[in-house]
Symmetry: C2
């Protein structure tokens, strides 16, 4: 039914590319590295500073620089001046030397559930892995603090990574794993993306010169709070939430109505031509 793109090398141990959006120094990244080391050879390429909220942004107009920061047996790490997506592009095309068997992005300090898949650099990096034909997982913990406890998130992330290394993922699909920041996670739920949006997003303030500036902030408004098939429900009930994400954003359900709405009317207007 679905085409696997598992590309595990036969002769070598699996190659796992790790990135994030919180930057090379983040605790979540470094705990993920340690958690996955037993699964294969690790190459890390992560932003040199925090690049949160970068979505799938690319460095369209600026050059990108890369710097090796660690070289150990089966672990090499690089920092990069680009975005999380730039990191994946550079990692796969210039750094690893062979095609990674798996890309893991995270572990993010803070949830990337629901509509945050659209804004998240952590998820952006996983989507990029998927675009490049490599099985990819974004992993996030629902705790923003720099010293958050990643024990449960590493455990869940490693379990999913092992499954994906073994079974692969369908073409055009990657995984978004969010783990609740609680001492004992109940288990894993496969979920859909919760519908909703952020409210109270802008905080007006004055800079030291008295000029107005705006800071982004906000509260998430869950538009389907009782639905036990979505990721917000799972997280609120003590489960890790695993959402499969697809690259094809086409709203197929609306195509026929859109044809009626646009093509025919436009045809009628000018005898078949706009």
């Amino acid at each position: 039914m679905w085409h696997k793109i598992k590309i595990m090398s036969k002769s070598k141990q699996p190659l796992i590319l790790i990135t994030n959006d919180d930057g090379i120094q983040a605790k979540g990244l470094n705990e993920l590295i340690e958690g996955l080391r037993s699964l294969g050879e690790i190459v890390v390429i992560a932003p040199n500073v925090s690049r949160s909220g970068m979505s799938s942004a690319i460095s369209a107009t600026n050059p990108i620089r890369v710097n090796q920061v660690k070289k150990e047996k089966n672990l090499t790490a690089y920092s990069c001046t680009g975005t999380p997506v730039d990191c994946v592009k550079l990692g796969v095309n210039e750094i690893t030397g062979r095609k990674p068997d798996l890309i893991v992005s995270g572990i993010n300090h803070g949830s990337n559930s629901a509509i945050c898949v659209i804004y998240s650099g952590t998820v952006g990096a996983a989507l990029e892995g998927c675009i490049l034909g490599i099985p990819a997982i974004a992993v996030s913990l629902t705790d923003h603090s720099p010293s958050a406890d990643f024990t449960q998130a590493v455990k869940q992330g490693k379990a999913v990574a092992e499954k994906v290394l073994k079974d692969g993922l369908p073409k055009g699909i990657c995984l978004n794993l969010n783990v609740p920041a609680i001492p004992e996670v109940k288990g894993l739920k496969v979920c859909s993306q919760t519908p909703g949006y952020w409210t109270k997003e802008l905080q007006k303030a004055k800079d030291p010169m008295g000029k107005t500036v705006y800071w982004l902030t906000g509260e998430f408004l869950n538009e389907d709070p009782g639905n036990n098939r979505n990721d917000e429900w799972a997280l609120a009930h003590g489960y890790a939430a695993l959402v499969p994400l697809q690259l094809d954003m086409t709203a197929y359900s609306f195509m026929e109505d859109l044809k009626t709405m646009t093509e025919e009317t436009l045809k009628n207007r000018k005898g078949g031509q706009l």
Copy 2:
């Protein structure tokens, strides 16, 4: 079948919020403004510099500044230091005073078809309108040059804008319009997002100090070139391509297999719990 979120004010003319990712000075933006002026009151809020390739990035850690640059009858324009998505958030929450009836992003200098929906700031801004419950359209022309001829793109964009102002769009769905840079566009095709990815993406170079830098570049590889239902086909055959995009990125087709792959195996491992 689908819930319209048309919110046209009864007492006033439609309010149209216009943004882009090429920046407030771009020709494509300014031709779009002139093209849509007859449809209602226009508020423009666009990046103060080019923010191409910004996807749905937000200014997560930096304050945003806004500056009014134009005030005419039924047309006010602002420049903003943030991303295209920041522009939409600011426009809707702080600038317009009433909820816009329509958001139009563009006209982008360069195509945003196929997988570019993931990277595009133009599309990111339209998705943001959709997130905020406002009908939204991204418009792009397949010509990167600063002095491109936007005549056909304005005509197509205006026609679609009129339809959306009249009929609204379903909740969670926005439109991605790409127009070929040819003297006479044949008409409009409702399409799906072409599958594919960019190759040869990194160009290695030296900076004046002799240090290595990488520039993003590349060629798009169309994975389904003969499919006359997708946007690349339409553009190559002289049609404007209109793709409905949805915010819900869940890969529903893979959910059952993913449950089999993860939940059950993980349950078996530890008596129902990870």
